[in-house]
């Protein structure tokens, strides 16, 4: 059932958030520490476990993938509710940080791609398709 996928996602998100809160307390950080990242790891592990038992049905996958495919629209909604008017005066920060990061990472990429060349077999293209939530 589709709801099982949504529920699994919810359980991982909640458990991750809770563990993140506990980690925050343990590290004396007044915030949730890596809750989203922990939840992601939990979901990856849950998928591996379910697949191993042959319990990952198509409707269940659908329940999770629907939300994965909505992540760009949700980020768009998030962007539309930010205090952009307040940030406009900080223009140079945005341009310098973004251009500097990209140029430096390109430099690092040029170095890395020259370090040996073992081959890797193709991963399944469906993942990228679902994530992008693309119409085509």
């Amino acid at each position: 059932m589709t709801i099982f996928g949504v529920a699994l996602l919810a359980a991982c998100t909640l458990l991750g958030a809770w563990l993140g809160d506990l980690l925050g307390v343990a590290l004396h950080v007044k915030s949730n520490v890596g809750g989203v990242g922990i939840a992601m790891i939990l979901l990856i592990l849950a998928r591996v476990w379910l697949q191993g038992r042959g319990a990952l049905s198509h409707p269940m996958k659908l329940g999770v993938e629907f939300w994965a495919s909505l992540y760009i629209p949700i980020v768009v909604a998030m962007a539309s509710t930010q205090n952009v008017a307040g940030a406009v005066k900080g223009g140079p920060v945005v341009v310098t940080a973004a251009v500097g990061s990209v140029v430096l990472c390109w430099g690092a990429m040029a170095l890395i791609s020259r370090l040996g060349r073992p081959r890797i077999e193709a991963p399944d293209a469906e993942a990228a398709h679902v994530l992008a939530g693309d119409p085509d």
Binding site: L9, T13, G16, V29, S31, G34, G35, V36, G37, M40, I41, L43, I44, V48, K61, V64, E65, W67, A68, Y71, I72, P73, I74, V75, V76, A77, M78, A79, S80, T81, Q82, N83, V84, A85, A87, G90, V93, A97, A98, V99, G100, S101, V102, W106, A108, M109, A110, I112, S113, R117, E121, A122, P123, D124, A125, A127, A128, A132, G133, P135
Partner: protein
């Protein structure tokens, strides 16, 4: 008649938000196809459009929640709020095959590590140099330079101000756009012509829409490889941003 419409929109805020964002996405993909001939990915245009709308909302209402300050569009605050945002981001982890990711091995780890550290340092240093001296703002803007997802997730966890969050997102979005537009032109010089380097590229650049858009314009066959590591990258950034990186900045700035 206007009154009925307003109360309907207020009662069904989330439904209004689905329709509005769907419209923004449709317009963005149309602009992407017709105006940029697919060179700038529709999702990047949509996010940029979202930020422009937020700016208009902020100017019109004088509030701090962008378009969500317009009562009829308050549902955007739910759709783009912390709850659904985190929910959707966690869902993306479902597309990661740990076995294939493991095979990227050391190179993947190095590239994700560098791809997290380099932008964070550049972004954080830029923020500090241009007058944002508090730990939370430096960390949030640095995290935004990792990706536009890591920025707001980190900022939300640390309680950054909405203005800093917007800067952080804008940095990540501009980075995504630069990656999308620049990748095809820089590809040859970077040796970006095989699955292995595409995987390293995803880890280094991070932004999923930037990497997939940029690789699609370079060689569509490379897209899934880049997307694979880019997906991991966001998770790693979300894990490290509000924790290790925040603590490092805190130790450095001494507050």
């Amino acid at each position: 008649m206007m009154k009925e419409l307003q109360s309907l929109a207020a009662a069904q805020g989330l439904v209004v938000a689905f329709a509005v964002i769907g419209g923004v996405m449709a317009l963005s993909y149309l602009l992407s196809k017709r105006l940029t001939f697919g060179r700038i990915h529709g999702s990047a245009i949509a996010i940029l459009l979202g930020l422009v709308l937020a700016w208009i909302g902020g100017v019109v209402t004088g509030g701090s929640k962008g378009l969500a300050d317009i009562p009829m569009l308050a549902g955007l605050g739910v759709l783009g709020g912390a709850m659904l945002r985190d929910f959707a981001i966690v869902a993306t982890a479902f597309e990661v095959d740990p076995d294939k990711a493991r095979r990227a091995g050391v190179l993947g780890v190095i590239s994700i590590g560098l791809g997290t550290l380099i932008p964070f340092v550049v972004g954080g240093a830029t923020a500090w140099a241009l007058g944002y001296r508090d730990t939370v703002s430096v960390t949030t803007i640095g995290a935004g330079a990792i990706t536009y997802i890591v920025g707001p997730v980190t900022g939300a966890a640390l309680g950054a101000s909405s203005a800093v969050m917007a800067l952080s997102i804008a940095t990540g979005v501009l980075k995504a756009i630069l990656v999308m537009v620049g990748t095809p032109f820089a590809a040859r010089a970077m040796g970006l012509d095989n699955p292995r380097s595409a995987m390293a590229y995803g880890g280094l650049m991070g932004t999923v829409s930037g990497v997939t858009g940029g690789l699609a314009a370079t060689d569509p066959a490379l897209v899934p490889y880049g997307a694979l590591t880019a997906t991991f990258h966001t998770g790693v950034g979300c894990l490290l941003g509000p924790s290790v990186l925040y603590l490092a900045v805190k130790a450095l700035l001494g507050s």
